[in-house]
Symmetry: C2
Subunit: 233 residues, 2 copies
Amino acid sequence: MKYSNQTRILVAVDCIIFGFDGSEYKLLLIQRGFAPEKEKWSLMGGFVQKNESLDEAAERILMQLTGLHEVYMEQLQAFSKPDRDPIERVIAVAYVALIDINKYQTQLSDDFHARWFPMKNLPKLIFDHTEMVNSALHKLRYKAAFHPILFELLPEKFTLQQLQTLFEGMYDTKIDKRNFTRKVLSTNILKKEKDKDKSSSKKGAFYYSIDEEVYKDNFQNFLNFIPKNELSG
Amino acid sequence: MKYSNQTRILVAVDCIIFGFDGSEYKLLLIQRGFAPEKEKWSLMGGFVQKNESLDEAAERILMQLTGLHEVYMEQLQAFSKPDRDPIERVIAVAYVALIDINKYQTQLSDDFHARWFPMKNLPKLIFDHTEMVNSALHKLRYKAAFHPILFELLPEKFTLQQLQTLFEGMYDTKIDKRNFTRKVLSTNILKKEKDKDKSSSKKGAFYYSIDEEVYKDNFQNFLNFIPKNELSG
DNA sequence: ACAAAAGTGTTACACGTACACCCATGG
DNA sequence: CCATGGGTGTACGTGTAACACTTTTGT
């Protein structure tokens, strides 16, 4: 049995994949291999298949491009202007993924001519993909102010300096080192490791990692990692 | 030209319509008029038409049921489990609407056998609609803590007492009257009217209304109307 | 005059912010 | 021994929370 007299529509998932290379935010884009807009830069996407949910489609697509699974990913929103794709009507559901840029496997994505672009210097994107990226960035800024999600962009072990740079990049601001350290450590989300990163100083900076227990318990709480002034607008 | 070999899917919009009657939150539900699940309680929904966006579909559906337009409404998220509708695969995009329960026109919705249910006493809903409602409520609690959106549930003129009851209901808590008044008034979002509501006291309580200018400017800011302890979890 | 809700102020505490110096180490 | 980044403490101001009494007026 079917519903009668109703229009069935193509549904696609597009993945907005953020990375952080230690000093700036990057976005993973592919060079589209088929018409329309062949060879133009685009988000990685694909059509939803018969028996998969949107979440499953997003995971499949992310896996295809990066070789990664079990990464942080969440639904952003649906984009549905009837003429957003010139070929045929397609409703796109955008997903935001945060990945550790070092785990990303280059070889897999060679097929897609993928490239990391600095967020401050993105190429023109096809369709409404630029709008999707802006929307994703806005939501990320919003959410990261209260929830510990930016950690997803770092390797398992990282220094406080790296973490601070991550926040400073997201809000395009300078944060006081002492206040930041105190605030972050007071959440007990971080565990101090025994070893140090000596790559950027003689003294070496202790690594920290996420305390998964505390992380999960606190995830839904409001944390407020960054100075209040940066939150407006 | 069309994309070949891809599955086209029915896309529906379901509206989660909240109201507030002065003492409790309510949800507007309809008694479904067609199979499957005929006569079961359901969110108001409908299929996306050929040339409308999801936002347009949501407006159309809300208008059909309530006779209202230009109400506060925003996309919640897409629900896409392949078997969520037993008849045929349907991807549903849920929208949340906040309406002034007094403006709602009963006659229009008689066709749909619509009824307001107290949020604390909802009937069993069809498909995954209960999940949608829970998700909507969660998002509303989250968002209303920082953005002045609950005002949308009140008439144009309201008393501080009504406003406080609104917040107390949303977070199921008691708020100190003096602190609440000071905090709300300090945002300058409210304009004091000249007249009073005498329906609930001899002395009468001044009406207030939204200062649209300040409202728009502040909308994206973080306001924090409610005590911090209520924000966890 | 009294009941019932409206309206208003002060104090203590916690949190956020600004700010500068010593430490450890490799070269 | 010195240059470099790592790591730490305090003082001040703002904002939040706790708390109770006076005002108004219809009956």
